[in-house]
Subunit: 140 residues, 3 copies
C-alpha cells in the first residue's frame, strides 16, 4: 500500500514547533496500515524536521537558544550573506537537523515513544507555510 | 515483504556503543530479502542512533568527549533543567544525531560498508534498556 | 517495485558537492514510479550525505568553513589520531550530517523543493570515489 500527499503547514514563527497532530490529521490512511513506515519530507532548505520531547515547551525554547549559539549569525567568514543574516545559519541548521523523517507504523498508529513528537524547525525570521511530502508505505 | 519487531536493548552506560550484532541477531528474516531496506527507530528522546566506524573503540570515546563539549551541561540559559543536568543536552544530542536509520538490504545482508556499524548513543547518565522498532521491507 | 544499484561516484576534493544529477542519471527507473521513495546510502564513515541549497556555490563554501570550525582538527583530547588530523573530525561530521537520505518520488520524479539538491560531503583531504547504494521502492 502506497499513499502520498503534499500538504502545506500553517506559517510558524522562528523556533521549534510540535506538529504531530497537524500532520497526522491530514493522513487518516495511517489507520489502515498494520506494518509500515511513514515518511515525512520538507521541501525547503531553511527549515527542518526532527523528533523530540513532546510535553514541556521549555525544551523547544532551549533548542532555539542552543542552535542560535552553536550556529551563529553574522560570522565574519560567511560569504553567502545577501539573503539576510538568518539565511546561511538556516541552511546549516537544516542540514544538522535533517529534512526527512521515517517513523514506524504499527496496527494503524505511528509507533513513536510516549514522549516523542514531530518538530517543525523554522529557522527563518519570516517564512510562509512550509510544504511537506507525506508518504505512507506498508502492509494493510 | 514487511516484517516488524519491537526489541529492547540491554542497558548501556552513557556513551557510544556498537550494537550491530545485537540488532541483527534479533532479525533473522533479513536473510530472506533480496532487495530491501531495514529501518531502525529508537522510541526515546534522550538516546539516539548513528552509523559510524566499527573497529577502533577510541572513535566511540572521542565521540562522547566531542558531543559533551559541543553540547555542554549546565549552560546558564537552559530553562528545562528539572530532570538533571544531563537531560536537556541529551535531547539536543538526540536531534543532532537522529532517532531513525535506513540501511539497504542486498542478497540477505545489511549492505553497509566494511567499516560501518550501528551505534546506540546513550546520552543519559543512567537509563534502562532502550526500545527499538525494527522494520524490514523488501522483495523476497 | 524494488530496484537497487550500487554506484561509485567520481572522486571529489574535501568539501560539499552537488551530486543530484550524477545520482539521478544512474537511475532511469525513477521515471517509472508514480508514488515512492528513493533511498541513498553512503558506505563510508568519513563522508556523508545531506540535502541543501542547489543554486549558489557560496553556500557549499560556507558549509565547509562552518563544519571545520565546529568540529576542529587536532583537539588535544582526541585519542583516535593515527589516521591523520582529518580522520576523527571526518567521522564526527559524518554522524552529524548522516549517511542516509530518503526522498519522495512522485509521478516519475524526485519530489524535492525547487532549491533542494543532494550534497556529497567529502570530509577527508584525499579520498577515492565513494560508493553509494541506491534503492528505489514504490508503486509503478
Amino acid at each position: 500500500m502506497w499513499v502520498q500527499r503534499e500538504v502545506k503547514l500553517r506559517p510558524y514563527p522562528r523556533g521549534f514547533h510540535l506538529v504531530t497532530e497537524e500532520i497526522i490529521r491530514q493522513f487518516p490512511e495511517i489507520n489502515r496500515v498494520n506494518v509500515g513506515v511513514f515518511h515525512v519530507f520538507i521541501k525547503h532548505t531553511s527549515a527542518s524536521l526532527t523528533i523530540n520531547e513532546n510535553a514541556d515547551p521549555t525544551v523547544r525554547q532551549d533548542f532555539e537558544q542552543f542552535f542560535n549559539r552553536c550556529i551563529p549569525e553574522n560570522e565574519p567568514y560567511y560569504i553567502h550573506t545577501y539573503e539576510g543574516p538568518d539565511d546561511l545559519p538556516a541552511h546549516l541548521k537544516s542540514s544538522v537537523l535533517g529534512s526527512n523523517l521515517t517513523i514506524p507504523v504499527t496496527n494503524g498508529h505511528l509507533n513513536m515513544g510516549t514522549w516523542q513528537g514531530i518538530y517543525l524547525c523554522e529557522h527563518r525570521n519570516r517564512a510562509s507555510g512550509r510544504s511537506l511530502v507525506l508518504t505512507l508505505m506498508g502492509d494493510s
